[in-house]
């Protein structure tokens, strides 16, 4: 099959990919752009390890056809920290609050949380849990993760 050309914004930069039309966004990110932050857990939309943010919305990149990101803006965990390497409050909170154990779910958790906080800077615990319901974690039991998001909310509020 002939490759297709897809142009979009990836973590703030204009990029173009030449990939087979059947590739998912996840495969393109990992194998074409070598961004291995987004993980493949299930490959069928169940686990959230592949979550990225497209035009402000959290999506499962494993079932997102790459052809559909044409002209859109994609944010992965690699684009979460500032260009000078300053960690995003969510990243700091996850580290300081033991929101990370093996780390496999972390990039997806961060991206779901990022989309939530951009839309709703002061979510309730319920809203946090709803936003993370599509992200499975086999290690933490979720409590530290929810608390990490709450901590990030505080950090962001203090800063502004």
């Amino acid at each position: 099959m002939e490759k297709i050309t897809v142009s979009f914004i990836l973590n703030g930069d204009e990029v173009t990919a030449e990939v087979p039309p059947s590739w998912s966004l996840l495969k393109t990110l990992r194998e074409y752009f070598e961004l291995t932050g987004p993980k493949e857990g299930c490959g069928v939309g169940e686990c959230g390890a592949c979550t990225v943010v497209i035009d402000g919305k959290a999506v499962n990149s494993c079932i997102y056809p790459v052809a559909e990101v044409e002209g859109k803006s994609v944010l992965t965990v690699e684009g979460l920290a500032g260009t000078d390497g300053t960690l995003h409050p969510l990243q700091r909170a996850f580290i300081e609050n033991n929101g990370v154990q093996c780390g496999f779910c972390t990039s997806g958790m961060l991206m779901s949380a990022k989309a939530l906080l951009d839309e709703n800077p002061e979510p309730t615990e319920d809203e946090i849990r709803t936003s993370l319901a599509g992200n499975l974690c086999r290690c933490t039991g979720y409590v530290q993760i929810v608390e990490s998001v709450q901590k990030a909310v505080k950090m962001m509020k203090e800063k502004s």
């Binding site: 099959m1 169940e46 999506v59 499962n60 056809p65 989309a115 939530l116 319901a133 599509g134």
Partner: protein, 288 residues
Amino acid sequence: MIDYQYLKPKSLEEALSLLESYGERAMLIAGGTDVMVGIRNGKFAPEALISLRGLEDLAYIEKDNDAYRIGALTTHRMLETHPLIRSELSALYDGASQVGSVQIRNVATVGGNICNAAPSADTAGPLLALDAVAVLKGPRGERNVPLSEFFTGPSQTVKELDEVLVEFRVPAVMGEYGSAYHKHSRRKAMDLPILGVAVSLKVTDGKIEDARIALSVAAPTPIRAKRAEDFLTGKMVSEDVLEEAGKIAGEEASPRDSLRGKAWYRREMIETFVPRMAQKALERLKNR
């Protein structure tokens, strides 16, 4: 992994002509949450996917004098966050807000949910109980199919291969009904229902003027429990009456034994949740 072409028509006309020329070799894709998973699992092996995502003008929620109009490309997230849906077509809010996860709801569409025609589709019961009509467009023109005539079997509908679902119309009068949907599943999130029960009621001074009851995963397709509806119509609201309606609905269903639940269990849950959803619909009417 199979390879396929990915076609991105910019208009409905273009999509229809692509559908016509590819015929059975192509498949429509909207949010892709069923299609991409189906391809991955080997259920589908299309030569081409025809994407509807470029038809952004098919994603809308509107209300005019005749009807609520919901574009086929409307995502579950749009339904979940739209005030009109939440307050006036509450059963649809209940259904859409419980589909998968936020990530799924951000891309999955209501048109895809209905065209995929899983017996467990979470918007099927609510749309049935709200008397929705599906608007199909194809080379032979446009036709309106009441949702109660839309499903013909698991994964099967009256939609022809060369037709595109463009809109759902819910009669404006449904705004005067109270409605509710219960998704019965083992886990709170990310699980398909064992059973779905949707009820809508129009009540004046305690008298039920009209009732709709829809059941999913209770038969090979989502169904209306018409005998239970007829039983309710004209009666004064009471616990006994609602319970009796639940029993009748249970008799009308033809659930099967499956991994998720036994037939007898589904029937008992219908008896339980028809009255409960009726109560919830009534409460919502009161609180308006």
